[in-house]
């Protein structure tokens, strides 16, 4: 058998190549089954970059649905709470150009806000509790409600349903622990010879 194969190198090569192809094919097939990824991993990656305010300003009920929509080809500039930095991050993830924020969905603001219920005006209607996407409002029917400030994402969704308008969005105060060094002014491009030299300027004047 071996001898006859050796005498027919073409056949031997063919058999070797075909069996190799079958072997690797089987291996690949097995790997594809074994290491299959459920769902689209890019959705998770986009969701990671979104600010998770769950505010719905993008027109989707929460950040994950918007992430799914972006993965399906939607525009990436619909997230005002994330602002330009989020757009840039998603653009670099998807390797697409970064557009400006779509003003239709709201304006980006650097000031973080948190909901505050004026408690003596609250009538205990539970409407804001139902509106809160992160369950950050505490209360019960006909009892006063209050916001867990640490859990509030500042999404604004509770303000509109309140029948007595007792919810304010207050800016989050930055204390001494959150303080950061300011960025130095970007140099204006002065070079050493721009320095005024009193001696030379006098010479010129003379």
């Amino acid at each position: 058998m071996l001898d006859s194969l050796l005498q027919q190198p073409l056949l031997a090569t063919l058999i070797a190549l075909v069996s190799l192809a079958l072997l690797f094919g089987a291996l690949l097939g097995f790997a594809a089954e074994k290491f299959r990824i459920d769902g689209d991993p890019v959705i998770d990656q986009i969701d990671e970059l979104l600010p998770q305010t769950q505010c719905g300003q993008c027109g989707f009920p929460g950040c994950r649905p918007y992430a799914e929509s972006i993965a399906g080809g939607d525009a990436i500039n619909k997230c005002p709470p994330g602002g330009q930095s989020t757009i840039n991050a998603i653009a670099s993830l998807l390797d697409v150009p970064a557009p400006d924020l779509d003003a239709e969905h709201g304006e980006a603001s650097d000031i973080k806000t948190v909901a505050f219920i004026r408690e003596d005006e609250c009538i205990g209607c539970t409407k804001c509790i139902q509106a809160c996407p992160v369950d950050a409002i505490l209360g019960a029917a006909k009892l006063m409600h209050t916001v867990i400030a640490d859990e509030c994402t500042g999404c604004d969704l509770c303000v509109e349903p309140c029948p007595v308008d007792c919810i304010d969005m207050l800016p989050v105060e930055e204390g001494i622990d959150e303080w950061r060094w300011p960025a130095p002014a970007i140099p204006s491009g002065i070079i050493a010879t721009d320095k005024t030299n009193p001696a030379t300027s006098e010479d010129v004047a003379a």
Partner: protein, 573 residues
Amino acid sequence: MNKTWVTPGGIHPPENKQQSLTLPIGELPVPEKLVVPLSQHIGVPATPCVAVGEQVLKGQKIAVPSGPLSAAVHAPTSGAVWAIEERPIAHSSGMSAPCIEIVSDGRDQWIDRQGIADFQHTSPTALLDMIAQSGIAGMGGAGFPTAVKLDPGFRRPVDTLIVNATECEPYITADDAIIRERTEEIIQGIHILSHILGNPDNIIIGIEDNKPESIAELEQQTEDTGINLVSFPTKYPSGGEKQLIYILTGKELPSGQIPADIGMVCVNIGTAYAIKRAVIDGEPLISRVTTVTGEACGINRNYQVLIGTPVSHLLQHNQFDQQRSSRVIMGGPMMGFSLTSDQVPIVKTTNCILAPSHSEIPAEQPAQPCIRCGMCAEACPASLLPQQLLWYSQAKDYERLEAHNLFDCIECGACSYVCPSNIPLVQYYRNSKGEITKAKREKVKSDQARERFEFHKQRIELAEQEKEAKRAARRQAAQQAKASSAGSGSAVDIIAAAKARASEKKADPQQQRAKLERSVASAEMRLQVAQEKLDSAVANSESEEKINALKAAVTATQQKFEQAQARLAEQLQ
């Protein structure tokens, strides 16, 4: 002579240490008001344990540590607690933080002090507790709570205790001064430290060779004590923890690790002194040695300053000349920060108040473009690439900054010092570090929000499912009822059944009677009220219209009352 290693980079700025060493450590009169911040250490601010108006004695605890990573605070003098509120503190932001203000009563009366002279026979745990209760936090600058650093639960076995007497920053001589005058007490402090750490094999005091008097004193005192005194050539910044460990042992502290991870503990020499005072003399940390120097001060010297003393008080007693002063700096010229107010208090970490003249430290020159000379990279003691970090900082490319180990930067300022273009490099790095920390904080928050949102969605779905299940059950029940009624017969049967149910309800005469009696009583009540209203209206001679309306109401109530009575009578028959 011990072998020493040479760190990369470093600079040799003018030392300017002599001017503050001409006089011994001085004492200042107690200021009228002392402002003691609750947070003078790394970690959680202390919680006040006194009330406004309370009388306190010198050394009395006025705030207790909040949790493990915190430090106690004590009254620096006797007097009354004037206020517990936000005051401007020594912080680069110039912001305020909670402080306890004490008005001195002038007597400076100590609380009862109880020290342990025989510390050798006291358990390390008891000594650690004593250090924690004395509010000692690292006095070299960072202010890490010392008891935590020494805690055996917190670290691995320690084989090397390093005492940092480097004091590499120009102008500052606070450590030098206490070594010269209080060597014996420092050595006692080191022995206490060694006892707490279970007598490590190596005890090294690291000192720069620009302090010959201190070296002579220490040499004399450390003879035959097992303590190694190692002096090495002066270079800034040799006093950084990582740098000093490398100089003395040749070991590099890996990025993101603390000395305890490689079996070392590094303590400032001022802290060793404070530990001696706390353990042997029972004195909590209420004062420290601070250098007051700079050309704008008439007198340059070191003082034993009470914690909480306003900077203005120090300057006043040193012939401070406002005209000559360009600014007042807390800390040294390399790592210190300019104060926005001279009312801020001295804290446990304040080793220097520097008031330079205009010519001594001129105002910042405008930054010029980077010429890529590479001097910053040569000066960097952490072997980083300051230029790359600058580009990435300007571009706000935080990912690359982290990849280039921005967080290993010790902010020593050597790069800014050598930069021929006056680029404020450290300020860029500090800003970027702040932004990255903020982004990380926000990431944690957004992850939390995502989790809560997902839970919320799940909860709503579950509630919806339950509702749906109930609806389905009801539908099914209705269908069943329909099926059974269809089987049993006609509308006549249904009417008969309803009648039977109604008569059943009527059946109980006891209940019926009680109900009617109640309605009679309430009608009578209403009639009375209406009559009273009418009477008072007539008495007050109110308008015709109102009286008429009330009369009509009385008549109507009268009728209802009679009807109710009639029904009751019917029932009773």
